[in-house]
């Protein structure tokens, strides 16, 4: 098991390298540069700006400079937020995204597993249909619709929640619900499908034959196997939730990482865009590893060598 984990961690290095190289090249292939503006700079000033960030060097030198930086865990300076390093930007914004994403993830798992299990237990009954209609809505209605609807309800009609900003727990209610909604829906659907699949398997038939009650079958025998698809989904979902969501951050004016991801790409702030992309990549790899390890834990039939 330990060797397996170690091997996976070592494999991350070439993966990150490939992602960094591709992202670097794609970023540079995009038209326009970080120093372009509606007001054209006089040539002497443009030259000085480029020299400051080594943009006057040939591309391969810049590439090696950047890769060298990554090896030292230094993601370089932001090209737009002057005087700030990418490391500092991530260090400042990530905790907000982690808190928000963590809460949303917890809520999505908690509600999703309950909803999915209930739906499967009452399959084709009215409760099942009700849960699945709500889940379908959760998936199809985008966050930029859910967020404003919540604002209308809680801020302007009920007047019980603050409209935006980072602050006390009350400030987090709407962002967390908005962020968790589609994930809750996914988890519920995966849970229901997983449960229905498991309920048709021979070991469940064996349990029924020995006279176990329906609830006992679902919760004692089926649940831990049925939850596997949810766990699989958890890898990419965690990486996505924890690195921030630009839509939710903008609607509720939260200082997370998501807005840097999008703004830096638009502004051609190459170093920030690359840094956030790499962070996302590393998180994805780590969470997928955790998911694979937890399989062995959840399902005794899975063994890693």
């Amino acid at each position: 098991m330990l060797t397996y984990i170690l091997k996976r961690i070592l494999w991350m290095i070439p993966t990150v390298w490939v992602v960094a190289t591709l992202a670097f090249l794609l970023m540079r292939a995009a038209p326009g540069g970080p120093f372009d503006a509606e007001r054209k700079l006089p040539p002497s000033i443009e030259k000085n700006v480029k020299a400051k960030y080594h943009y006057d060097e040939p591309l391969y030198r810049q590439y090696f400079r950047y890769m060298g930086g990554i090896a030292r865990l230094d993601l370089g300076p932001s090209l737009k937020l002057q005087g700030r390093s990418v490391n500092e930007i991530i260090a400042q914004a990530l905790p907000y995204s982690l808190a928000l994403g963590g809460l949303a993830l917890g809520l999505a798992l908690f509600l999703g597993i309950i909803f999915g299990t209930v739906a499967a237990a009452h399959r084709n009954g009215p409760l099942d249909y009700a849960v699945m209609v709500v889940a379908l809505a959760g998936i199809s209605v985008p966050t930029f619709v859910i967020g404003p609807l919540l604002i209308i309800l809680f801020v302007f009609v009920l007047r019980i929640l603050p409209v935006a900003q980072w602050g006390g727990p009350a400030h987090l209610v709407m962002p967390v619900i908005t962020l968790a909604a589609p994930f809750t829906a996914y988890v519920a659907r995966l849970m229901r499908a997983g449960m229905l699949d498991v309920l048709n398997q021979p070991f469940i038939r064996a349990a029924r034959a020995k006279g176990a009650g329906e609830a006992s079958i679902i919760y004692r025998h089926a649940l831990k196997v049925a939850v596997l698809p949810v766990v699989t989904f958890l890898g990419p979902a965690s990486a996505q939730l924890l690195t921030g969501s630009v839509v939710v951050e903008k609607i509720f004016n939260l200082p997370g990482l998501g807005r840097f991801f999008v703004n830096s790409a638009f502004n051609r702030d190459h170093t920030v865009a690359l840094g956030v992309a790499l962070l996302y990549c590393v998180m994805l790899l780590v969470f997928n590893l955790l998911v694979d390890v937890s399989y062995a834990w959840l399902d005794p039939r899975i063994r890693y060598k």
Partner: protein, 555 residues
């Protein structure tokens, strides 16, 4: 284990999710994973709870976006400008209504008769660390802006009016003592200009020319603008700067005019989303929001409110024509497109906040200047010119497109213009939407026919608009050039007589918007602000849309 009677499915699931493993031994992995869920929840709640909620400032405003930097030498945008104006002060400053020049660090000044030499007399005032502000501070700060190794001083050209400054920035001149700025004593600053620059006293109130504290910059390096490090000389101190969350300012007890500063604390919020900024204003979480927080679709309702303030400003929305490729290389085609453009309809139907249709590039609200008579809407004349150019009734008109960067307003205007030209000229124009970086690149490479543009006055003088279109100018981007036009702009730069100078600009602008038309003016902006004038004082509508925080107060 037997199922106990009376248990609901959900209730049972709760038990399982939160069960301790000894109770349900076979459920151990699930119990563990659910405990992870709970742990995530608790950790996240804890992290969220650690962020203590602090009292709001006396005055809170929406500042649009995050400030990119607080170093006056490096900054370029309006959000930065507002904060810099609060924590620094230049030789001169802007009046409460933003339009006039008032003394700042300089209590008085003299200008030589030829307009080339300025002598500033500094008042006895101090930095926030208690040391005096001296003429040497200005020399240090201006040299810092111009120093090629400073790198990203984007607005260094605001100093290029000073003799030798441009050469020093280019690296051609190594010795800074050759640059036209000297300090005969600690309280006197003598500046020598390349050419008479009637707006120079506006430039000395501009952030690029603000003084910075040498000891602070040298001690902290790039981190000198952080709260705790920063030393300023303005009405406020920076006490907190949390990226993308808040900037907090507090009254500077060492500011020379501290008695004139009414607010004790100010919060600037970097709210990028228009609706969010508006919602925060509507729920009282912000006291002032500008046009960036006023949703276009609510204009018809908002303009009736007493807290809606509108004023014309020195900003023009126009289209560039690419004069290097057909059919827009033909002045008759460019004129036909302009004459056929029903600008009133754009203003009434799309913008709806009381903007003015534009026939000139320089807004008529420009002080001391009277723009030439531009072309008026005349579809019949437009059709005649188009026929003369070889496209009667629009027949045979080649494929052209309007290029614009991603924005709902730009799109709506382009769609309307497309319809107007179809109705009036019978031509089909396509739309080409590009995101910001790509759009800038396409425009600079002259890879377009018609391109959306806007220009904000840097200082209240026609030169800020008109020197854009000299041949080969960095902001020209139309491929157009005229020796007569270049000559007139250069002559205006040398002219000492104000009336004659304005006449030269007027003549130049006539070439631009009547004779040659490499650009097509569309409308003049209005600034929109929401604030309750019954409660908030010291905000005055003005053509530069500048509202120095120093003068703001709560009634």
């Amino acid at each position: 284990m037997n199922r106990r009677k009376g248990e609901t499915a959900t209730g049972r699931l709760f038990c399982i999710l939160f069960a301790r493993s000894p109770v349900f031994p076979s459920m151990r992995p699930l119990a563990v994973s659910s405990r992870i869920t709970v742990a995530i929840l608790i950790a996240a709640l804890g992290a969220a709870g650690c962020q203590k909620k602090d009292p709001r400032a006396e005055f809170t405003f929406e500042n649009g976006t995050d400030v990119q930097t607080l170093d006056p030498a490096l900054m370029t945008g309006q959000p930065e400008h507002r904060i810099a104006n609060a924590i620094f002060e230049g030789l001169t400053a802007r009046s409460p209504n933003g339009a006039e020049i008032v003394p700042g660090v300089a209590k008085s000044w003299e200008v030589s008769p030829d307009g080339l030499r300025y002598t500033f007399h500094l008042r006895d005032c101090a930095w926030s660390d208690g040391t005096p502000v001296t003429a040497g501070d200005f020399i240090y700060s201006w040299r810092r802006v111009l120093d090629p190794s400073m790198g990203a001083a984007y607005y260094a050209y605001q100093l290029f009016y000073i003799r030798g400054a441009e050469e020093f920035n280019e690296g051609k001149l190594k010795d800074f003592s050759q640059v036209g700025v000297r300090a005969p004593d600690a309280r006197t600053l003598a500046v020598e200009l390349k050419a008479p620059t009637p707006f120079f006293l506006y430039l000395t109130s501009f952030y690029t020319l603000f003084p910075v504290n040498r000891a602070c910059v040298e001690k902290h390096g790039e981190l000198w603008t952080r709260p705790g490090n920063i030393v300023g000389n303005g009405p406020f101190l920076l006490t907190e700067w949390i990226a993308s969350r808040r900037i907090r300012l507090a009254r500077n007890p060492r500011y020379w005019d501290r008695g004139g500063v009414r607010l004790a604390t100010i919060d600037a919020l970097p709210t990028e989303n228009e609706s969010t900024a508006f919602n925060m204003y509507m729920t009282g979480e912000a006291d002032w929001v500008d046009g960036a927080g006023i949703p276009l679709h609510l204009i018809d309702l908002l303009r009736l409110r007493p807290d809606f303030h509108k004023t014309t400003i020195l900003v023009t929305y126009f289209y560039r024509f690419n004069v290097t490729r057909p059919p827009t290389n033909d002045p008759r085609v460019r004129k036909a497109l302009d004459l056929a453009a029903d600008k009133q309809r754009i203003v009434d139907k799309i913008l709806r906040a009381g903007q003015m249709p534009a026939a000139t590039l320089v807004p008529p609200s420009m002080p001391r200047y009277r723009p030439p008579e531009g072309l008026a809407y005349n579809p019949a004349e437009a059709r005649r010119l188009l026929a003369e150019a070889g496209y009667p009734g629009g027949r045979g008109f080649p494929r052209v497109s309007i290029l614009f960067n991603t924005s709902e307003a730009h799109k709506q205007i382009a769609v309307e213009m497309q319809a107007i030209w179809k109705e009036n000229l019978g031509i089909r124009v396509e739309l080409e939407n590009q995101e910001w970086g790509t759009y800038l690149n396409t425009e600079s490479a002259l890879d377009y026919w018609i391109s959306r543009a806007g220009w904000v006055a840097d200082y209240p003088d026609p030169n800020t608009f008109l020197d854009m279109f000299v041949t080969g100018g960095g902001n020209n981007r139309t491929g157009w050039g005229s020796r007569r036009y270049d000559g007139l702009i250069a002559a205006a730069g040398r002219e000492r007589d104000e009336g004659r100078r304005m006449e030269l600009f007027r003549e130049a602008e006539r070439i631009l918007v009547v004779d040659e038309m490499p650009i097509m003016p569309i409308y003049f902006y209005v600034s929109l602000n929401l604030y309750d004038a019954g409660r908030i004082g010291g905000i005055y509508p003005n053509p530069l849309d500048e509202h120095p925080l120093k003068y703001v107060f709560i009634k």
